[in-house]
Amino acid sequence: MDSNCHFPHLSSGNKFSTEEFIGQLKRQLAQAYAEKFLETVRGKCFEKCITKPGSSLGRGESSCIWRCVERYIEATGIIVLRNSLREFLMAV
C-alpha cells in the first residue's frame, strides 16, 4: 500500500469494534483496488484507441474506448474464472 492509505479511523475514545475496523479496512482496500483498475484501463485503452490525438475525440475513438473497457473487464473475468488463483496462493 502506498502512503495515501491511512489506518481506519477509530470512532470514539479507546473502544472500537472489530466490525467497524474491518468494515473500514474493506472499504479502503476496495477503493484502492478500483482506483488501480481504472488507472490500468485508462492506460490500455489510450494505447489501443487514441493512436493520433486530434483536436477532439472522434466517434471511432469513442466507440473503441467503449469496447476496450468492456473487453478489459471481460479479460479480467477470464483470468479469474479459468484459473485457480486461490489454490495457487495456498501452495506457494
Partner: protein
Amino acid sequence: MDPSSLNSAELQRLISQEKERAMVNEMVAKLTSACWDKCITGTPGSKFSSSESSCLSNCAQRYMDMSIIIMKRFQSMQ
C-alpha cells in the same frame, strides 16, 4: 461476535483474510495486464475472437506453470 469488544485473535484472522484477498486481487490485476498485452494485439472488437479468448485463458495458466517452475528452481538452489 460482540461488536463492542476487541478480540485480538479474531481481528488478526479477519485482517489476514483481507490481506489474502488483496493479494489475489493484485495477482489478477497483474496477470490481466500482462495477458492483455500479449493476446489483444489489434483494436478491441465488440467481442473477443476465439483465438483471443483462448490466448487469455492459456496465458494465465502458463504464467502459473512458470511461477511454480521458478519457485522449484530457487528451492533447488538452496
